[in-house]
Subunit: 598 residues, 2 copies
């Protein structure tokens, strides 16, 4: 099925809901919306024409490992080369390393497009972008000069080597070790699992960022350092030298993302150790990795949006073609297209509205990062960072949760055909399932939100967000236009529930953390219901203004209709979620007696 | 992973919540609970030891088609033979055809066990049982005598041939045709798709029940007749004769259920037509098929329960083994098992509670069927049938929805390992995904519930159920024991929401059916939240009584804890669902403007 990048939706959100207009006006970002739109258009075209065709092929062929070399599916190498040649890997990086330094809000949208078109292709760029960020923030100048230009150009790719069999969510348990050679290099030993694009044939070199322990390092997470370990060592003149002892010794047979090789990486198995260089300070590796992970978490959230968008497009297209039964509103000949059935409409609207809400949450997170990176005032930057930190776990977990849910709805809309692999709908569900797991499971995101994020500045950051949401709800109520339905009331109720649950969570953090942890997952969902609804409503208000100013683009009315649908049908979950957070923790903490019986 | 059949849960529900004790006492059912328990035990053992080992093998190998013959995965033939030899296919059928005529509540539980152990194996028996029911209810005596003993013994298996490419949910569009030969036989022509076990190697003969049109039959669903078309014709002495022209011409490549061959069946392609016999009256085939389908719908609901149970067992076992991080309540050495983390506990309790609620709904549906089949009083039988009709779409749709959700949570609990196929968790998600689609998509179940079921007797049937739920909530509130938490209050709120939405639905049915259709899916979920919560609470009340009478089995306390968890954490969805039903339909009916843009 053809993919069409949601250029208009992104562009509208950027213009109406982000800081980008202000940052442009103040000359902080040197861009125009004409340029932004043309970047979006070009990326959308490339994604549709060059990347999307890889998606079914990648799924079917998967990757193969032979003698330590991974072959990617047919067409991926060529597409990657064209993608790099077109300059797409360089959009985010700083100019001094050859990057275009576009705002995160814009580059996130591009990440969505690649991952909608083919997520097993898109994830490679996400990892490389993460490596660029970590090296930019923490790498020594010599390392930056050697590695960044090629990573930014996409000639080389990056990886994150964290997980070991005994150390998944809990990195304190990791055992890989690094020995200093005294010449500025280290020798790395150990085995890492689940390394995305740990080995492949799409680029000339692979730059592994590897967590390992130095001799005598403290136990736990305070004894972990970060190392750069290239697949091929780099000669002084920049050419590639000897093969490093960093070898792919296995690839996984996964539910989905078949085109993305998930590698077991063995370092130093030949005896001398893999040659590596320290990034940042000794024993501060987790800090460096978190730079990479926070951005990667947003990017994974964007992957959730991406798969939801693709699944939605596919389902709507199918529902317009497939004819079954009679439908009250359908005037045509014969059986009605199933898109005319109210129950199918509910499903499709849910898919669209969830996708839009998740996209808005991701874009708002990206926008906060842009203000953090670019505003001149340190206080404003700190506030923006706190906002981004607050939103990141929500962007990651909510977007990937709805990625799965929307992909599953997409299968359902296809009926029996949805279960047949050749249809393509099932692949989205299989692909989407990992996003809720990697870069920190969604449970860990919820715990991060509750234990580290809402308590920032004594709760001021989340309270400010709640106040913003409340203002939006009030503004919607004030509009009093028939097409807004009960959007304002429902949104107001959702925000009230969000506020109530937040206060309870903040109370519990001091004295009763078990209850806060027990309610973390429904709390995150509640957060997204209120904030997502508010962002959609904000865009709907902008659409309403445009309509009152005489614009007649039907997409403006559709935007209002979707925000209304979200408020009246999805944000309605909020009160029940609040009850589960506040009144449900007791039952969770009695779990032991139940689970002991199994 | 080892499977352990939930014998205790089923036995407790049968004793404390169904009519079975009364039916036994009154001599209507000639069974004792000792016998019931030993049947459950034996079935559980067989499922665990003989059927469960097939599950990963079936998934991996799948079925192959060669020259019209389907080979099932290694071990399936032998297991099927042992299963039939042990008498398991005959549990439901009437004695006169060699069956054991056990109550549906009991046979449903057995269906769950086979499908937990290996759903691609279990579905074969479900289809055969459906064919037995249809033939028993509608077949001429000669057909019954020829086919039923072998179907009941499991020597032969049955299929349902409904779907054609253009006729999925809407059977009025089907085109297969039947020509009467004047000798009591018919010749069948046409192609059917998605025929489960349409061809296989596990039994000697296959008895296809095929929907087709007679010459001059009215258009639409009133012109469809049902035919019996055997794979091999049966000689007068009962031996197998000529091969009939009913041929498998393709099998599907599916997301899951790989061990179950999904066949394209071509009838009469050699020219003369496949030989068939009419079942029931001409043009009344859909009626006959509905006998089969209603029971099959309950059985598919049971498949949802089955997969949820298996996924839950697997996740709990993993969570007890896998160690990551520290947990407040964990006193042991080193990292805590993840089962000690409150967020994981919430997930596992959700899995368990949803599974129990769905099982209870299915058992209550089965119990109503038992009263319909067995009570002497015609009025009581009619009331029981109305109750079963009301509950069937809820049993089918809710159980299969939570089957998917619980299987997905199971993947999540496994973290990265959950995405690796060898772990086994992902297979449950892939397998579960079809249950929400086949035997009428869950959307169609919701529409059936709203347009045909809640309106029975002017709404009296559903109102009686609501009154029962309300009584349970009041009884729980009256108990006032600390371990019940806020179960009574939350359940009462859920029942209120159910009642409010039901009244609105009944109003809309007369005048505003579009709104009823638009709200059908959240209404069904709301129904299940209230009724499922009430059934769990009823069992919890029975457990409480047993405890006050001095019983100390820890499973009694666990039952109360799970009912409480359900009420406080899942039934809390009810009010929001009610709001979506009542206040959300307007936004759905404005869908056209949104969906036109895609």
């Amino acid at each position: 099925m053809a993919y069409r990048a949601p250029v208009e939706d992104v562009s509208f959100l950027l213009k109406s809901c982000t800081s980008l207009p202000r940052l442009m006006e103040e000359g902080i970002v040197d861009l125009s919306f004409d340029l932004v739109d043309s970047v979006l258009e070009e990326a959308g075209k490339f994604a549709a024409s060059e990347v999307a065709p890889l998606d079914p092929v990648s799924d079917k062929e998967g990757c193969t490992l032979k003698d330590g070399a991974v072959a990617t599916p047919t067409g991926v190498r060529a597409a990657y080369a064209a993608w790099a040649a077109a300059g797409w890997p360089s959009v985010a990086a700083e100019e001094r390393f050859g990057g275009q330094h576009l705002p995160v809000a814009l580059t996130s949208a591009l990440t969505e497009f690649w991952n909608s078109a083919c997520p097993s292709f898109g994830i490679c760029g996400v990892l490389t972008m993460g490596a660029v960020e970590a090296l930019t923030a923490h790498g020594a100048k010599a390392l930056q000069d050697t590695y960044l230009p090629n990573l930014v150009a996409g000639t080389w790719t990056g990886t994150m080597n964290l997980t070991e069999p005994q150390a998944g969510s809990d990195l304190s348990a990791l055992r890989a070790r690094a020995e200093p050679k005294g010449d500025g290099t280290y020798r790395i030993f150990g085995t890492k699992i689940f390394i995305t694009y740990g080995e492949h044939d799409v680029a000339e070199n692979i730059v592994h960022l590897v967590l390992a322990r130095l001799p005598g390092a403290p136990a736990g997470t305070r004894g972990i350092s970060l190392f750069l370990v290239p697949k091929f060592l780099v000669n002084a003149d920049g050419s590639l030298g000897a093969r490093n002892d960093a070898v792919c010794t296995g690839i996984e047979h996964k539910l989905g993302l078949h085109g993305s090789p998930t590698c077991t990486m063995t370092f130093g198995d030949k005896g001398e150790g893999a040659v590596g260089w320290l990034i940042g300070e000794e024993n501060r590796g987790l800090n460096c990795m978190f730079t990479m992970m926070n951005n990667a978490r947003l990017a994974v959230g964007v992957q959730g949006v991406a798969i939801a968008e693709r699944a939605t497009q596919r389902a709507i297209a199918f529902a317009k073609e497939r004819r079954q039964g009679k439908a009250a509103g359908y005037q045509g000949e014969g059986m009605a297209p199933i898109v005319a059935h109210p129950d199918v409409q509910r499903t499709l609207l849910t898919m669209r509205a969830e996708t839009l809400a998740a996209r808005a949450i991701c874009l708002m997170t990206a926008d906060a990062l842009d203000r953090y990176h670019r505003l001149p005032d340190p206080a404003a930057r700190a506030a923006a960072l706190a906002e981004a930190s607050l939103l990141t776990p929500v962007a990651k977990a909510f977007s990937t949760d709805i990625g799965i849910e929307v992909a599953s709805m997409g299968v359902q809309v296809h009926g029996g055909m949805g279960y047949i692999e050749e249809t393509g709908a099932a692949q989205h569900l299989r692909d989407a399932r990992i996003f809720a797991i990697y870069e920190g499971t969604n449970g860990i995101q919820a715990i991060d939100l509750v234990t580290r994020k809402i308590g920032q500045n004594g709760g001021d950051v989340v309270e400010a967000l709640i106040a913003d949401c409340r203002t939006v709800a009030a503004d919607v109520t004030a509009v009093n236009a028939v097409e807004f339905g009960h959007m304002g009331v429902r949104l107001g109720e959702a925000v009230d529930a969000f506020a109530t649950a937040t206060r309870k969570m903040l109370d519990w953090l001091g004295e009763d953390q078990g209850k806060a942890l027990a309610g973390a997952t429904p709390y995150l969902r509640l957060f997204a219901r209120a904030a997502g609804g508010a962002y959609l409503a904000k865009a709907a208000l902008a659409a309403h203004r445009a309509r009152t100013e005489g614009e007649s683009d039907p997409r403006l009315a559709a935007r209002i209709a979707l925000a209304r649908f979200f408020a009246e049908n999805l944000a309605t979950e909020a009160r029940g979620l609040c009850e589960s957070v506040i009144g449900g923790a007791g039952a969770v903490l009695e779990a032991e007696a139940v689970l002991a019986l199994d």
